[in-house]
Subunit: 185 residues, 2 copies
């Protein structure tokens, strides 16, 4: 039995954001990815939560999990392809109204995003400010700069200046591909 | 509670291949991916098995899964980036010595691979013939051709002719990137 490391994303410990018709950030991103898939725009999926299965039980020619634990993620939650390019990102929410704490991102995820960029992929964060009801795309190089400057967080001013506010449209609540298209292509 | 659809990959219903020092195909691919990562060659991961969590229990400020079921995969098991390009594949084993049955691949996975190719990604199968102790890379277009011809399987002759035998090297038992490099770049 391991403890859940900080930043591990599970549906059970997530608050519901009532401002968005009861949908949380993850659900809105999944809905947007489904919109991209249905309209043949991009193929991007959330990876399943990594778990370690301890005990299973046979049931109707199949198996049921009777005991399992959550594992720390070694990569980000989302990846896929858009216009032939590899896309990789992590999505995080914060209740702060002044900054995004870098401690919200797992060390493994920072290493992973850096590798992706070095290999020619596109890597970023999607950040929701719950209490401001604003969603931003923040390129990984901004995260790297803040780290290099020894910062523990990215201020909302930096995010507003160097990040990109994500628009919303019908059936695509977090239309981040619009920003991806604008800044990486 | 759903039944496990045919072709769902779980560690519990997989035979151990004693021919390969007790390592099964999945473990050998994971080891190869780790080799690519350690040597900064490619960044390719196996996705966690998709599950639906039904019941959890609080334990030491964390959570433990007490009930969960396996879900049918909507994508392939592996994806990542190599030389800036998006890579996506499914790995399958067969005990047949004459052909690879196409029923081994989930319908969702075929649709997914087709989308990936259409969006400029690289998509293929890694196939292990357990009793022949041979591993092949088979490009997705071969699978599509066989489907179009109404075939239920790909014969070993076709695989030997149009597929690529995967070499093995120290610390990289399934060196499929060598083949990827040769045929897609």
């Amino acid at each position: 039995m391991i403890k859940l490391a900080p930043g591990i994303n599970t549906s059970i410990n997530k608050e519901v954001n009532y401002k968005n018709r009861g949908m949380n950030f993850e659900n809105e991103i999944n809905l947007s990815n489904q919109y991209y898939l249905n309209n043949d725009i991009a193929i991007i999926y959330k990876k399943p939560t990594p778990i370690k299965i301890i005990k299973t039980k046979s049931y109707n020619n199949s198996y049921k999990i009777e005991e399992a634990i959550f594992l720390a993620p070694s990569t980000t939650d989302y990846n896929g392809i858009y216009k032939g390019r590899y896309i990789d990102f992590e999505a995080k929410e914060t209740n702060s109204i002044t900054s995004f704490p870098l401690s919200n991102i797992h060390y493994n995820q920072l290493i992973h995003l850096e590798r992706i960029i070095n290999h020619g992929g596109i890597g970023f964060l999607l950040i929701r400010f719950n209490r401001l009801n604003l969603n931003y795309l923040v390129d990984f190089k901004i995260v790297k700069c803040m780290e290099k400057l020894g910062r523990k967080s990215i201020s909302i001013e930096t995010i507003k200046k160097d990040g990109f506010l994500i628009p919303s449209k019908y059936n695509c609540p977090i239309d981040y591909i619009k920003i991806v298209d604008k800044i990486y292509f």
